[in-house]
Symmetry: D2
Subunit: 335 residues, 4 copies
Amino acid sequence: MTTTLGIALMGTGRMAHVYGPKINAHPGLSLEVIYNPRMTSAQKAAAQYGGRAMDDLDAVLSDPAVDAVVIATPTDTHVDYIERAARAGKPIYCEKPLDQTLERVGRAMDALEAHPVPFMLGFNRRFDPDNRALREAVARGEIGRLNMLMSSSREPAPPPIEYVKASGGYFVDATIHDIDLLCWIAGERPVEVQAFGSCQFDPDIGALDDFDMTMTTLKMPSGLLCHINNSRSCAYGFDQRLEAFGDTGMVQTVNHRDDTLVRWDATRTEAREPLKHFFLERYDQSFYNALDEFHSALTEGRAPSATAADGRAALAIALACARSAREGRSIAPDY
Amino acid sequence: MTTTLGIALMGTGRMAHVYGPKINAHPGLSLEVIYNPRMTSAQKAAAQYGGRAMDDLDAVLSDPAVDAVVIATPTDTHVDYIERAARAGKPIYCEKPLDQTLERVGRAMDALEAHPVPFMLGFNRRFDPDNRALREAVARGEIGRLNMLMSSSREPAPPPIEYVKASGGYFVDATIHDIDLLCWIAGERPVEVQAFGSCQFDPDIGALDDFDMTMTTLKMPSGLLCHINNSRSCAYGFDQRLEAFGDTGMVQTVNHRDDTLVRWDATRTEAREPLKHFFLERYDQSFYNALDEFHSALTEGRAPSATAADGRAALAIALACARSAREGRSIAPDY
Amino acid sequence: MTTTLGIALMGTGRMAHVYGPKINAHPGLSLEVIYNPRMTSAQKAAAQYGGRAMDDLDAVLSDPAVDAVVIATPTDTHVDYIERAARAGKPIYCEKPLDQTLERVGRAMDALEAHPVPFMLGFNRRFDPDNRALREAVARGEIGRLNMLMSSSREPAPPPIEYVKASGGYFVDATIHDIDLLCWIAGERPVEVQAFGSCQFDPDIGALDDFDMTMTTLKMPSGLLCHINNSRSCAYGFDQRLEAFGDTGMVQTVNHRDDTLVRWDATRTEAREPLKHFFLERYDQSFYNALDEFHSALTEGRAPSATAADGRAALAIALACARSAREGRSIAPDY
Amino acid sequence: MTTTLGIALMGTGRMAHVYGPKINAHPGLSLEVIYNPRMTSAQKAAAQYGGRAMDDLDAVLSDPAVDAVVIATPTDTHVDYIERAARAGKPIYCEKPLDQTLERVGRAMDALEAHPVPFMLGFNRRFDPDNRALREAVARGEIGRLNMLMSSSREPAPPPIEYVKASGGYFVDATIHDIDLLCWIAGERPVEVQAFGSCQFDPDIGALDDFDMTMTTLKMPSGLLCHINNSRSCAYGFDQRLEAFGDTGMVQTVNHRDDTLVRWDATRTEAREPLKHFFLERYDQSFYNALDEFHSALTEGRAPSATAADGRAALAIALACARSAREGRSIAPDY
């Protein structure tokens, strides 16, 4: 039997449009409320996805139909909503990142300690079937002791410069995904990190003292070494690959495509189509699976698998990478 | 805007269990009735998938909530239900094959001529995204003039001998899928066929004078040559591959897997997992897409793309193959 | 220790240019004589590859420096040279085919029976490392009992029409390679064959009542079924692939390329270069290996592995295929 | 016309056994002398590969049959032999590395400045056909501006500990290959490097304060970022892969195998054999090609393409990597 949880979806922006349809598709979730402080925005989203439009936060958090909140608001408001929802005793699913500063993340963690509601951070890539399959192969001992991990993560094109300005920098905005994924696979967190950054694609990003291409190395307590490369531009699409190297073997994930067609002609052979997906398509299933984990954890009375502490650690590591790239030395993350 | 069609699902066997959930998943279809002459079977299925259980065929076919029927009953009853539904003026989706004999298929076609209701035959593999992508690549002229087509279609294990006995023989039961697919891609039908059969896996199949492994060649009017190989057993799973060879290139489809993991160890490298899917998983999407084509054709007022004539032609070709294997000569199908 | 065999290379045409350098590269073979009835041709070849130019056949066959002959003359002279060399007691390596008629092949076999010198037929594809590896995997039982064999063999472009006229027809000229290869892998010969042919590329070939595209099926005594497809034209190069399907697995060979580069860009991903090789490059190693087998067999005192009987059987099967395509029925080869 | 160069092969150890057969196989090189200060060693090698055994260095360097020397002696003797040969005016091919210290490398460079004989360093991986093909694709602009380079280079098993002791450390012994290769492809040298090392496989290596697994990042003046990962152990063989990522595409090299067989069974599909080659097999062609470059450069009167300066730069970078791993900061190489 499935227990149905009434959900208040906080926010009506891009990520709310990701979560809205997935809440509706999940048999155990019911979209009861869509909240935005501006009623017209809330109403527009509610017309699209159902649920009652609300602009009064207190009313949302005291609504008896609301069993849990899904926070999909701008990043700099996450902590405030977490504090409010925790105080109201509502279980929380919060889109990543918690925040861009350790200080404010600390505030959220304090609130969750004071009001220990179930909390899950939306590190969706953990819930991608391929990433899970790789982690399970490692956990099963298929490759023996894990010795190296690599993640190549390259976006098709730089985002609008306004997005970059608010992003907290490339390490905090993007590398944080790879960092969380690798730590989750490894089951440990780096003692030291090294990073280099370049600006190769968009000079406006360079003018902000930010990077659009980075290489990051993590050194784990066990001796495991991890490599991450990120790029804000990739001519052939959204390139997402993992490699785990152990002492008895290696396992890799490869890219997804819409079809399996293999093409041969006078100029190329065994060719596949370009990578048409960006993150919404590539990780579509992972967002659904993340909500499903939230639902399962709540109905089974256990803690969801991506915690606020995971979010804090990933942020601390990403900030250490940024500092390493700036200062030219290895940095021990401030856990 | 989506027009919703009320559906009567005829039958409660294996294929009804395929169609039931897909009717429910389709936003334009509503499962109104589940019919079985034995009320207890109808009730059991209705409890699972919804809709009203009915055991009175006249009542089903005169029910105002029933806009169309989906026939998923045993093959030897297809023609009778087609005659009844056509006379009642109900649009028909019928699981393949129409029947195992040309005589009875002729009766169904006569009924559809006398009562020209919309009719679609469930050649689901036409609606598989990979197969469609290959056909579209051919149609777009990506490989120039089409010169060869190959289909490898191998099942994991022989079906129960009772199934084989009622199957009409391996060509009529299985090769018919490849035949329809290749004719649909080619846009033409063979003038001559050749076939060989063996019994390599299950001697009980041989005792029925049937085959469990066949190779078939089709010669098309344009000079296009087609090869089909079928096997009732395949150690590494359900192997489904197409190859289209034209005068400027070639295009192939490859097998599906649950994940993209590529494994390397001391005994193997670049290895993928075995093919875990059988036809329900491998062609899951295609059954949904076939119902969607039925819905679209009806609401757009056009004929669905897999016709009774296609079914008759595929059967005539499959019977010609069986005769070729038996008589040791090329056979011209009896269209 | 290597025993060096003095070789008389018979002929100065295309195949002589294949064998000349390989005789020179082999440490156990010494190119002593190049023979052509026209002395100027013999002299030109001898200037290129070494050895004495000779135009007197009796002198060649009685030359004490000549331990064996390599016949690389036009096909319709093979039998005459075999008769002469056998009578002279010289071991013979003869380029395939023995001849285009069973009658003349019979004459060669009679001569070899009367004068039982070591004889090897140049079915070079047996000596290709990939083809050998596949055969060994089958022989080792890696795929269990062998149930299907497939060979795709497609040439980049039709040969000059003069070549086609003298070729004996497409089955005898080209399919014979695949036939020998599959029989050699299978360890058995077909009881029945079926074939279709088309003319899709060069109408001049059609005007000769010949085909430039064929599909052939062989039925083996064990129940094994074999498929061969051949094409005189292939836009992406010289396509050479085998597939062996057994009851516990499958093994395939794939095409060769000059480099391993995998290319990704905005229009294609994981693309490989076109197949640049034609048969001289693709099977370069196999010609050397075939001469090495001839050398090893002679120095070890055993029969070489590709016999005149193999050549007769392959021709009988190819002729049966041609007749099947012409008469529209299964044909039992005339062994 | 080919000019033949008389070669004195210096040394009779492992690398001399690599070069001996390749000198003999090259039509433009003639192995005149094999030198070792111990005459019995020289004689043994000369018996195997031909040439005169000599133990008197002055006699070798004044021998009129010796046009050039190939130095394949222990690393710590390279500089001495370079000084002697340069003074004698003999062109030099020297196996890499020049030496393990910048001070002694400086001595060799001084000698070559004072006595400017043609000099080539044996960075054989530059002459591997795949690596060259990748570099040419980059140089042709196939992937636009080069933005990232990756090299994965993993050895099957740790070498004997005595070898490790004399190796100069893992960066100087092994990473130096990848460093030279990436700089050669990029056409530039790093301004800064970062590296981490671990000891995961052989505690005896750790006891020497050396690493058996490293990750290295290079930052080039253009903004290009390079990643290198090295391992002294690899369960599936000698893993050698390059990846070049540009702003319009990507190109990769993949591993080599003895055959192309693709295997499917109940536990794995599309599997390839393990990587059986170690460096002698994998880079066999590259050693021959390197000697061919030496021969071509000398006969064409141009400088060979891998210079002493390249050797010094690669060493400086490798030493900077070792220091980065030790000191936990980015290091600017001491060019």
